[in-house]
């Protein structure tokens, strides 16, 4: 009986491990005021250029707060290497920053946008592809 229980628990653990993949692009809950958004990372030498773009709907989107995060991979987790924040009072934005990076690491850009339509707002996210230096 004990053996069967152990086998059952092992099986459940294997299934859970097979099923769980850390989301690279977690689901954003709303896209009410957002037409499109993107993050990109380009690396030249030891300089990373991080870009966060969001396009809203004219007459709907009134303000965008962008939090741009340069992330570095630490084992299976992504930790913040640096972050920047800026507010735009328009329906579109393109936020660009540069940062010195170190070789042998894997980086990506995560952008967190708080998109306003008057006093209502939604939060959406975008992630760049990852690059190993």
């Amino acid at each position: 009986m004990k053996r069967k229980l152990m086998v059952f628990i092992s099986l459940v653990m294997i299934i859970c491990l097979c099923s769980f993949v850390p989301p690279d692009n977690p689901i954003s809950p709303n896209y009410l005021y957002t037409y499109s958004c993107s993050s990109s990372l380009s690396i030249s030498g030891s300089t990373a250029t991080c870009t966060s773009n969001l396009t809203g709907y004219p007459g709907v989107t009134t303000k965008i707060v962008v939090k741009q995060i340069l992330q570095v991979k630490d084992g299976n987790l992504w930790r913040t290497a640096h972050s920047w924040t800026k507010t735009y009072y328009s329906n579109s934005c393109s936020y660009v920053n540069t940062r010195t990076i170190y070789s042998g690491n894997t980086y990506r850009v995560k952008s967190e946008y708080t998109v306003y339509a008057g006093s209502n707002y939604e939060t959406v996210y975008s992630y760049s592809s990852s690059y190993t230096t």
Partner: protein
């Protein structure tokens, strides 16, 4: 009596008793049907060529785990809404948006920066430019006339990774100048077309009619 004679006599007596014991043994026991079936299955299983692969609990568990892994992997790769390759790029459709992406390639044949600029050649002279982005990876123009808007973007293929509002949208296959494209009408009444010509990604979105927008998309040409 010699030792040899003693052994012979003893053997005859014991064999007689042994045979008597066998004759007395009751072989009329009837096993249950389920037991008989189990034995039959067990005997049949031993005859199978893969018996050695599943003859222990651990091996059977490993087989089940491998089968589940294959099924899960196959499902993820085959279900279109999870990850569908579309004309050199991927579309991942979620409940309220879609992520369009390409794989970054270190030794890609695609231009790694915008070397040739493509623009709309359709007559939109009545529109004014209200927003631009121009860098090595992207060339974006937003046009406006009255309440009509056109969003146009040319982007390098590698590293393209954009989320679009596709909630309630039905994605349609299209052709733009011989290139595969797709389009959708979003829940704000905007139609968007996305395609690539093998060198660059293009997207064009607007709140004007789909037919006119397709004509505008077809007019996108290299200008410098």
């Amino acid at each position: 009596m010699s030792d040899k004679e003693f052994r012979k006599i003893l053997g005859e007596i014991l064999m007689k008793e042994y045979r008597q014991t066998l004759d007395d043994a009751d072989d009329s026991h009837i096993f249950s049907e389920s037991f008989e079936n189990k034995m039959k299955n067990l005997i049949n299983l031993r005859k199978k060529p893969y018996y050695k692969m599943i003859n222990s609990y651990g091996k059977r568990v490993a087989c089940v785990a491998v089968a589940i892994t294959i099924i899960v992997s196959t499902t993820i790769l085959s279900v279109s809404s999870l990850r569908k390759p579309i004309f050199n790029f991927f579309i991942q459709k979620f409940s309220n948006y879609s992520n369009i992406s390409t794989e970054p390639k270190e030794h890609s044949k695609h231009p790694n920066e915008i070397k040739d600029r493509y623009e709309i050649t359709y007559d939109i002279s009545n529109y004014s430019i209200i927003y631009t982005i121009s860098n090595t990876e992207e060339y974006t123009m937003h046009y406006q006339t009255g309440n009509e808007y056109i969003y146009y973007t040319q982007h390098i293929i590698d590293g393209f990774n954009v989320n679009y509002n596709t909630e309630d949208a039905i994605i349609e296959d299209l052709q733009i100048n011989g290139y595969d494209a797709f389009g959708y009408l979003d829940n704000h009444g905007w139609y968007t077309i996305i395609w690539n010509d093998g060198e660059y990604m293009f997207s064009i979105g607007s709140n004007i009619s789909k037919d006119v927008l397709i004509q505008i998309a077809k007019s996108v040409k290299k200008v410098e």
